[in-house]
Assembly symmetry: D2
Homo-oligomer: 300 residues x 4
Amino acid sequence: MAEQRVPTRDEVLGYLRERRNWGRWGADDQRGAVNLITPEKRVQAASLVKSGRSVSLSRDFPTIPGRNNPMPAQHFLRVMDNAVVDYYGIVYHGYVATHVDALCHVWDGDGMWNGRDPKREVTSGGAAYGAIDKWRDGITTRGVLLDVPRFRGEPSVTLETPVHGWELEAIAAQQGVRIEPGDALVVHSGREAWQAANPDWSGYRPPSPGLHASCLPFLRDHDVSVLVWDLMDASPNEYGVPWTVHGAIFAYGVALVDNALVEPLAAACTEEGRYEFMLTLAPLVWVGGTGSPVNPIALL
Amino acid sequence: MAEQRVPTRDEVLGYLRERRNWGRWGADDQRGAVNLITPEKRVQAASLVKSGRSVSLSRDFPTIPGRNNPMPAQHFLRVMDNAVVDYYGIVYHGYVATHVDALCHVWDGDGMWNGRDPKREVTSGGAAYGAIDKWRDGITTRGVLLDVPRFRGEPSVTLETPVHGWELEAIAAQQGVRIEPGDALVVHSGREAWQAANPDWSGYRPPSPGLHASCLPFLRDHDVSVLVWDLMDASPNEYGVPWTVHGAIFAYGVALVDNALVEPLAAACTEEGRYEFMLTLAPLVWVGGTGSPVNPIALL
Amino acid sequence: MAEQRVPTRDEVLGYLRERRNWGRWGADDQRGAVNLITPEKRVQAASLVKSGRSVSLSRDFPTIPGRNNPMPAQHFLRVMDNAVVDYYGIVYHGYVATHVDALCHVWDGDGMWNGRDPKREVTSGGAAYGAIDKWRDGITTRGVLLDVPRFRGEPSVTLETPVHGWELEAIAAQQGVRIEPGDALVVHSGREAWQAANPDWSGYRPPSPGLHASCLPFLRDHDVSVLVWDLMDASPNEYGVPWTVHGAIFAYGVALVDNALVEPLAAACTEEGRYEFMLTLAPLVWVGGTGSPVNPIALL
Amino acid sequence: MAEQRVPTRDEVLGYLRERRNWGRWGADDQRGAVNLITPEKRVQAASLVKSGRSVSLSRDFPTIPGRNNPMPAQHFLRVMDNAVVDYYGIVYHGYVATHVDALCHVWDGDGMWNGRDPKREVTSGGAAYGAIDKWRDGITTRGVLLDVPRFRGEPSVTLETPVHGWELEAIAAQQGVRIEPGDALVVHSGREAWQAANPDWSGYRPPSPGLHASCLPFLRDHDVSVLVWDLMDASPNEYGVPWTVHGAIFAYGVALVDNALVEPLAAACTEEGRYEFMLTLAPLVWVGGTGSPVNPIALL
């Protein structure tokens, strides 16, 4: 992928098929590329904490109705004499809540992660394979941020200018940072600036700006375990496939953290002149769940 | 509190009044003892990651009805052609879900954290003061585990043998570990063994075993920022006060993580011969919320 | 109110104060104008069933997000081997779900129904007074439909042409129907036509067309027990009062059925040449609730 | 079925197969036995309103946790300056909420109502066939109550003494009432007395008392459209079939109203010396739903 050419449909299908990680960690593996995060990797990640600054990558929970929030989360309080409790309800997948997708979340005609059949594994009672509870011990690893707007000198990625894999390589080179196996890749595409300039935009009504299918080899070549992003798949895709970059879930076993709030971390990285840090995120332990709301924390 | 004497009612009231941290971090502070976690503290916490072992302190989300789960969480899936999404709904406070309490969660006749009036600050629209989103950048600090059953040579704490503050001191001494300002204190009381021996027990129907009011000075003297526990306040209390150890929330500004799963961490600590580690937990960012389900991770 | 003059602010305040039904059915009454529905009234209502046609006055439950549905209801199914069950969740008040308001639902500075103090009676634990369960035996009475669009020869009521009380009198006269004590008044304002002509309209973002404050005396003079309507209070009101026609709840003890689907009944009435019928509606028995989704049925 | 003999397994399978109403109202019918309620039937039902007494057949909504309420309904209020609104959430099927089952709710190995395939018709997106919205115009018909405890001179039906079809015939004869096509049959089994005598009983943990499979022919022979009952299928059944009396849904197209509160109506019928009345019930219009909470009203 040193070429700067938009891939053909066959090439994209190849990314999702020939480059698969199926069976790489065993036929019954349910943890995917997170397997690349070894104890040594965690020790190394901890060593990256230098200034002790702690930055959240989560948006506020989406309780307020809006154009990009058609199904707001519910939040109800019950006040008592000496206490107050509350209820949270949410369909967190979508384009507004910060959440991590489990490996069972999406699939294509060839199947789920590791080639399993969703008709068998996923019922309305829960996901029997690749559910979020398989990452119950958290995901703690080295994180690397690639700042696309800063690289481009533009406020944000746009519909006409998706992020391509070769661009990610160029940004890493310019930032002087390497992506290593098991890393969490954090891509800043400038969502806040995009939303401010396009107040009527809603991820629920494409087109949407984001990462092009050409980013798939970048994820696979560098063996990332997690992709944290604020703008997601450039949509619609020109290949007529159900999933492009989201296909990293079922093809590579990568954990995707959608709708991340990346701008504050990008600003902190710029300020400290560093693009690597310790990243921690811990899904809630919903047995059979298809993902979880999360608040990923970067420690610089 | 070098004495091993159960405190009088006046003494307990003194713990909750005279030893208050109100105003310590300013009249408008909303982060409480978490303020003691400085960037330096986080760097130090990261340096405690030695083996790279990652251990969750969270129970499975309580979707299954049961004697100790009278209001199960809701989990519904929606399967589509190429994806599955789900809905989570939960009143997470109580005796079964692992969650962190915000500073607004409880109060007594004297008021909330920092002396605020709950009638003004807490409405059914949300908490205007001391809500969970004030800890949005996560809580990452040095964690110390005190293992009560192991110290006692008993399977668990019991109704007749609550945990006292002087006992925590003794356990720390025996384990050869110090508690330092800003630390997260993890107390293992042996909940799994207690529940196995008492299958009809429910935290919703006291009496319940746990920590005695005499533990309050321990928390205050050592300036802990977080208390993570599997069995909570010994209930009912003999003082006729609404809250004993839970009073650490409004009196000291301490973050409480209730219903933690501590046994696996206690076993890991025993195995590795260490009782200090890096502890990370990140509440979901619910603006105005009274707490959050969490999955705290200990990194050894 | 034979005059066709828009009332002054003092007159509107008079409607809500001087014409109150407070104490009319006793100081502790919680059923309001529904008290006017005697057993004899029900027998009479049943005698109005002539053709046996059954017409629903309910919209579909609002699960689909949209401009006038910012907080969609939740509907999740769980399929099992030999059965399927589902979950319904809804904040039904608002501008989209068909529902009946309990007497505790709204109030003004003078108080709730019967002069009670909402600060005392309504907490986040439930309404202690005037809750929906007080109508647990259903509301079954004579129903009378007044068809405003048909009277006007227009598709619907508009922002510039609210429904006035004198107009309701004129429509009744033209339709040859009397409104009697205890009746359910059904007002057709042509909501479907309004929405079709104004696809961007949302009741959540006034202005909205509907009934003017001048309708209050009509309700009070005729002693209606229920008002069923498809477009509600003309909003905003020019008097600076929190509630105009909705004030019939706390001032007169009238049951309001909001967001009704009236067009099919209006068509049936036109077809049969009758404007009176038996109306039945039964709130779900939520103790302490502020209202209930309902499906009112008119029997011709 | 004049015999008073417990049917064999083959006979019960015969009730569910040979006596099916499949195709009776057309291959695409989705309203089942409710088709038997003609406009004339409704007029006749209305003529049964004599005293004008109105009696609810609904239990309070099950928000309070308990042994027979493992998944309580949610009820949260939000109090504002001049109004209060609330949220209702419920999985209403089960043994505690009063609700009507849609024709899609249950099936056996042979299929759903009218022979449809649940795998095709019922997905986690909704039921495409036999959903509750097909009864959107309400169910209004002649109701007949059969009072089993009164007939037996016992407080309630018991585990050892299920209700048999021949007994229903005897009760109807003794009460001097006929069951006619399209009627709603209301069976009083004395649930309140049963629960009071058996406080640990839970419908979620059989055995449970109720109606025996031998009641199926009674329903079919008399062409009832609705069965309203307080205790349901005697469970477990001795035939090893997934459903006995609940099979009336998919075999006969009968609407079942489970967990009804029948005692007050039974008392009213005894008092008035009549066992026939007008029965009205209106499901909430959930498109694709598997049933609905309801508050059925009997008018005497």
